[in-house]
Amino acid sequence: MSASRVIRLVWFVTWFNVRMLLASEFFILTTFISPLIFATLAFFLFQSGGGTAGQTLLYVALGAGMMGVWSTTLFGCGGAIAWQRWEGTLELLVSAPSRYDFILVGQTFGAVVLGFYGIVATLAWGVLLFGMPIEATFPLVLPLSLLAAIVSLGSLGMLIATTFVLYRHANALGNLLEYPIWLITGLLVPISVLPLWIKPISYLLAPTWGMEAIRGATIGAEPPLLAIAMCFILACAYYVAARYTLVFVLDKARRDATLALQ
């Protein structure tokens, strides 16, 4: 497949998936409503603390928005392959001439892109209800930060999609992994206040660096170049791991004739 056809395929599947997820009430909830509720909760909590934590409203809004991005990635990607099984399209997609991992890339990016709408909704919410100022200390770096965050979360989503398929109840794993990742990736509570043993795990997770890249460009003191670089490095690592897992999972499913079985 030529590069242009791959880009076209990924682009098409991404937008197709965004449109499909927009038709789901559950994803409307996780992308647009849930971040607003958690943002409000966090705003009141930080307000209740009287600013002792020293964080700005923008810090809270970005963190709550990123929580929504993680939820959408987790549920949108975790169930991606399982849904194709339920819909009966998995066999067709796997046996199509296009490489299945490119289709999966588009699917997972669709979920992540939808999740990022949640950040916009949370920022608008903060401005309207709490008079939050919108500012960026490095406005030219911000688009690159956003791109890095989307790419790294998309690749992590692909890894989630390929590994969760090994567990029959992907949504249950989603329920399990929502809060711990919110906690250990420093979305609202800085990693520096967490126990030392958690930090290595945090640094292996895309939301940690994605959040760092976005916050660095908006409220940071210096450009978040390390965070942006880490996003791209992790994205490559996740993609390679996801590709190997996918090959293993599909080979096993073909060998056992369980591709279409739920």
Binding site: S24, E25, F26, L29, I33, S34, I37, T40, L41, A42, F44, L45, F46, Q47, S48, G49, T52, A53, Q55, Y167, R168, H169, A172, L173, N175, L176, E178, Y179, P180, W182, L183, L188, V189, P190, V193, L194
Partner: protein, 279 residues
């Protein structure tokens, strides 16, 4: 052999009898838990109702104690009570709404079974399950987050917790009844659990919320029950928190009654409009 030659078994119990109502209440409730509650299997139950609440407690304890000067135990108690909503609200929603999705609703409504027994029977397993999840979360709070309960206050805490779990199951029943007409009933169940998290003093004291949010909080389950649990954990007796527990029970009864009437109304309406199986 013709059909008329088949012996017809006599009904085992008059559907209008108390005994039949008890069987519908007890067996129906038990079966609804096992068959309609999608999470009643270890592979879903453990990640969702054990793992999820554990991390919810740790998350809010960390966030709350970082953002405010309150102790992690304050947030642990609030969330240990709130996690019962996962079992109560989602469970009851599934126990009622899944009748339609699994195609058993027409059969249920065609029976002459006592509707009050049918409806009330669903509560018991989910109240028990909510209590279990909440008690487990309290255990996590005691072991990891510094929650301390005086032995003398355990009975009061237990009563307040029971009232709270009942009222949250009642709002779940209302959501279940509403879901009989919706495409996705769990959307509303998710909204309710989030609203409880925000409006009911789980993480932010009610007094610190804007006035309109306090009004909403006072109309929702949890607010009074949770306050009673908090006060009891601080050593208050039945005398001090009895009123709060009473209000919580009344709120639960109000939601349960509304749910029953809505269920009955939707049953009549579905029969009249032939929409029992329309999704």
């Amino acid at each position: 052999m013709t059909a008329t030659a088949l012996p017809v078994a006599a009904p085992r119990a008059d559907p209008a009898s108390l005994r039949a109502a008890w069987r519908v209440f007890w067996n129906g409730g038990r079966m609804s838990y096992g068959m309609l509650f999608n999470w009643a299997r270890p592979s879903i139950y453990i990640p969702t109702l054990i793992g999820g609440p554990t991390f919810q407690l740790l998350f809010f304890a960390a966030l709350g104690s970082y953002a405010t000067d309150r102790s992690p135990a304050y947030f642990a108690i609030g969330n240990a009570v709130q996690v019962s909503a996962l079992a109560g609200v989602f469970g009851m929603t599934m126990a009622i709404a899944n009748e339609r999705w699994f195609g058993t609703l027409p059969a249920i409504l065609a029976t002459p079974a006592n509707r009050v027994a049918l409806f009330a029977g669903r509560f018991l397993p989910f109240v028990a399950n909510g209590l279990f999840v909440s008690l487990y979360a309290f255990g996590v709070g005691v072991v990891f987050l510094g929650v301390r309960l005086e032995p003398s206050s355990l009975a009061v805490v237990g009563a307040a917790l029971l009232a709270t779990v009942f009222s949250c199951t009642a709002i779940g029943a209302l959501q279940g009844a509403i879901s009989l007409r919706l495409r996705d009933g769990l959307f509303g169940a998710n909204l309710i659990t989030m609203a409880i998290l925000l409006f009911c003093g789980v993480n932010i004291p009610l007094a610190e919320l804007p006035a309109w949010m306090q009004v909403v909080g006072n109309l929702l389950p949890f607010t009074h029950g949770l306050e009673a649990v908090r006060q009891a954990a601080d050593g208050a007796g039945f005398g001090q928190v009895g009123g709060l527990i009473g209000i919580e029970v009344l709120i639960g009864v109000a939601y349960a009654t509304a749910a029953f009437f809505l269920f009955s109304y939707l049953e009549r309406s579905a029969r009249q409009n032939a929409t029992l199986d329309v999704r």
